[in-house]
Amino acid sequence: MTLEIARTLDAKGLSCPLPIVKTAQAMKDMSSGQLLEVLATDPGSVKDFAAWSKSTGNEVVEQSQDGGVFRFVLRKK
């Protein structure tokens, strides 16, 4: 089954903590269950997204890395 991405956030080039800040901001306008794809280059983002997900309850449903770019797919709680 292909995941249906509702929105993509390009956070490449942003340094900590802006990828998370922009993600939290983007999630505000989404509805529960919708998927947000985030692209980031901040090396801290893997641990940061895991911690943010754990703390806020928004689930990381996919995670991958292509070169220096990290990709996360998050499901809004």
């Binding site: 080039g13 942003l14 340094s15 900590c16 903590p17 802006l18 998370i20 800040v21 922009k22 993600t23 939290a24 901001q25 505000k28 943010w52 703390s55 806020t56």
Partner: protein, 137 residues
């Protein structure tokens, strides 16, 4: 209700203000309320006619630190003021000026940037801090 993070900002150099802005934005992204209390040189950096200028770095930065900070900025890192703006946009972030420092620097509330929500004394700061951690930067 979740206990707030309480940051007391004393230093007015760009590196320490940047560190404080990062802590603030991170907490805001987690839905944690943040109270910021501005004293001395940190308060001076929030004057609306000075907020965008170069506030220097802590002495330990040295030339190498200066180059590293300039490099990040050239790569597009948001300024501390911009990071704080985004944090305020996202979550519950209240920035208050210390009334004693206002007197010390002979400032009026109208001299401060819009990021600052008001002026309060240390008692009000502690009351709002509740049982949350207090961090001094």
């Amino acid at each position: 209700m979740e206990q707030p993070l309480n940051l007391v900002l004393f230093s007015g150099t760009d590196d320490k203000l940047q560190a404080a802005a990062v802590l603030t934005a991170g907490a805001a992204a987690l839905g944690k309320p943040v109270n910021v209390f501005l004293q001395y040189w940190a308060l001076d950096a929030f004057r609306k006619d000075r907020i965008d200028r170069d506030h220097g770095l802590a002495p330990e930065a040295g030339d190498e630190g200066r180059a590293a900070v300039d490099g990040l900025r050239a790569a597009g890192q948001a300024s501390w003021a911009e990071t704080l703006r985004q944090a305020k946009d996202l979550g519950e972030v209240d920035i208050q000026a210390c009334s004693l420092s206002m007197d010390l620097l002979r400032l009026e509330e109208s001299d401060l940037d819009d990021l600052v929500d008001g002026v309060e004394g240390v008692t009000a700061f502690y009351l709002n801090a509740g049982e949350g951690q207090v961090v001094f930067i």
